[in-house]
């Protein structure tokens, strides 16, 4: 069984969270185990260093355990954990970058690899369409990619996206709308071109 499947939803998370806050080690262990994959995968978008990401998650949970008496009972667990990990990684990374004197221009890190699973693709038109959609996703700016990832692949709503990315909810909506708009506009224009290319060359 895949451990990430242990995570059977929000209500279960909230129950575990409350048990953990009261000092329940078993609940703490379950909480960490069930969120580990999601956090790890999210972490890989900001760094390629697998071990470092694991360390960050470990530190995050250690700190949660130490501060459990000061934490709120009423939180959405998954977005809270993702936000904490993101903040932790960015904090450390910005320090690294400061010492390297790298310009601040490419502050926003988010490397993601979209892919098309072949087993679903049976027709030529599906093949063309799916390659197209991948290209369009790949060409989005990083912040828009992150919003798309959180919204469509992590099932986060606008408020949760805002919490995680530390932006205003309105900004999250705007980013999402821009991204979708871009995906659709380009689709219409370029799809036809590619479709033609595909059949004539």
């Amino acid at each position: 069984m895949n451990l990430s499947e242990l995570n059977s939803g929000t209500s279960n998370d909230n129950l575990l969270w409350k048990q953990f806050l009261s000092g329940d080690r078993v609940a703490f262990e379950k909480l960490m185990t069930s969120h580990f994959s999601v956090l790890f995968h999210y972490g890989t978008k900001f760094s390629k260093d697998k071990e470092w990401i694991k360390d960050c998650i470990q530190d995050l949970f250690l700190q949660l355990w130490e501060r459990r008496s000061n934490l709120s009972e009423d939180i959405a667990v998954k977005p809270y954990l993702m936000a904490s990990l993101r903040r932790r990684m960015h904090r450390t990374m910005s320090h690294i970058r400061l010492s390297d004197d790298t310009p601040e221009s490419n502050q926003h890190l988010f490397e993601i690899e979209f892919s098309i699973e072949d087993k679903f693709i049976q027709t030529e038109s599906s093949h063309v369409q799916s390659q197209r959609i991948k290209l369009l996703l790949d060409s989005l700016p990083k912040r828009q990619k992150e919003v798309i990832y959180l919204k469509f692949f992590q099932d986060m709503d606008r408020e949760q996206i805002a919490t995680i990315m530390e932006i205003a909810p309105q900004t999250a909506s705007n980013l999402l709308q821009m991204a979708i708009k871009q995906l659709k506009i380009h689709w219409k224009a370029e799809f036809i071109t590619l479709f033609l290319l595909f059949f004539f060359f």
Binding site: F36, F40, W65, S115, E117
Partner: protein, 373 residues
């Protein structure tokens, strides 16, 4: 649901309700879409294509085995328990330096820098403390991991904060598995190069044979063999402050602003004479250009005033060069210095204009009588 009639394939692909049905269908959504297709059979192909796309589109994720997850989780639980156990013990005096101390230490350092700081060590009792590696390590309350390099090759050690220590043969370092509290403290016996992850909120401290090196994030080398009379610290990047750890009342001394601290900048080194507790600042043997300057610097000069040449060098190596600017402005130099070490560069320059140089207190001082035109 009329709006779906207008939809093209990409509208479906990014539609919440449609995606939910494809990925996690409920009886309600399944009924809805099946009815919709019955109602608009001409859209069936479109719906099928959109479904395919939603299903096929994935994010490539790095694999992570359940075993790996369990290892980290187990380790985290162990650490959590260790920490709770450790909280029941008191920290020994000289290690538990609080945050306030750092602010005061920083102030003290700021005051001392700029002053000449030669032999101002009289407040340090000579033989008062046991600052040997073994003593320090056994006096620490937190659980330490020790790494010893028994091999010929330098051994890289990664610390939990991402910092890197490259341990020279025969050297050992002790460090906590994770850094808790307001400082990152490690203990060194022997020689190592440090590349410290920047974190101004958590100073990084190297305790080595009585010398404390404090940094916020930088790279530097510490040489502190038990058998050697001296401890040396050489700075590669960033700023480092060092001070002697020779007093059990270091905390009070700090409050009195009497703590001796010396700030080192790139290419400077400090030599700490253990016996007479004396610190001497100098330059490293082969200063290197700081990374950001390396790419844009050319050291090809044609009839350039020596003063300009020296300023360029000063900037590239981030070292202080003391010279009479007016005097040397009249000395033209034609030389190709690009591939030379700093001291080779200086030798050529000095030969060219009949000057000489000296390293004094971590600075380069140029003596010259100027040039007759």
């Amino acid at each position: 649901m009329k709006k779906y009639l207008e939809y093209d394939i990409e509208d479906f692909v990014w539609d919440d309700y449609f995606r939910q049905w494809v990925l996690i269908p409920t009886r309600e959504s399944d009924n809805f879409w099946k009815n919709w297709i019955v109602q608009y059979p001409e859209k069936a192909k479109l719906i099928e294509d959109a479904r395919t796309l939603v299903k096929a589109l994935k994010v490539n994720e790095q694999s992570l085995s359940d075993q790996e997850i369990q290892n980290v989780v187990r380790h985290t639980l162990e650490l959590a328990e260790e920490k709770e156990a450790a909280e029941n013990f008191e920290q020994p005096g000289f290690i538990s330096i609080n945050r306030k101390f750092w602010i005061q230490a920083a102030a003290a350092v700021a005051i001392l820098v700029g002053l000449s700081w030669g032999v101002k060590t009289n407040f340090v009792p000579k033989n008062s403390v046991n600052v040997s590696y073994e003593k320090l390590v056994s006096n620490t309350s937190s659980l330490l991991t020790e790494t010893l390099n028994e091999h010929e090759n330098p051994l890289p050690v990664k610390l939990s904060d991402g910092s890197l220590v490259i341990l020279t043969k025969g050297s050992r370092i002790s460090y906590p598995k994770t850094f808790s509290g307001s400082k990152r403290e490690v203990f060194l016996s022997g020689e190592a190069f440090f590349e410290v992850t920047k974190n101004p909120e958590k100073p990084f401290l190297v305790y080595a044979n009585g010398l404390i090196t404090k940094v916020l994030g930088t790279s530097f080398r510490v040489r502190a063999y038990e058998s050697d009379k001296d401890v040396t610290v050489e700075v590669k990047t960033g700023r480092v402050s060092v001070f002697a750890q020779s007093d059990p009342k270091i905390k009070e001394k700090a409050t009195n602003r009497e703590l001796e601290g010396v700030v080192l900048t790139p290419n400077q080194k400090i030599i700490y004479a253990r016996e007479d507790v004396r610190l001497t600042k100098s330059l490293v043997e082969a200063p290197v250009m700081i990374a950001t300057e390396k790419s844009k610097q050319s050291f090809e000069f044609e009839d350039t005033p020596v003063s300009e040449v020296l300023l360029a060098i000063e900037k590239a190596y981030s070292v202080d060069i003391v010279f009479d600017e007016e005097l040397l402005a009249n000395c033209p130099l034609t030389a190709s210095l690009t591939d030379l070490q700093l001291f080779e560069k200086l030798n050529i320059i000095c030969k060219g204009v009949e000057a000489r140089y000296e390293i004094l207190d971590g600075q380069i001082v140029i003596y010259s009588k100027g040039c007759k035109q």
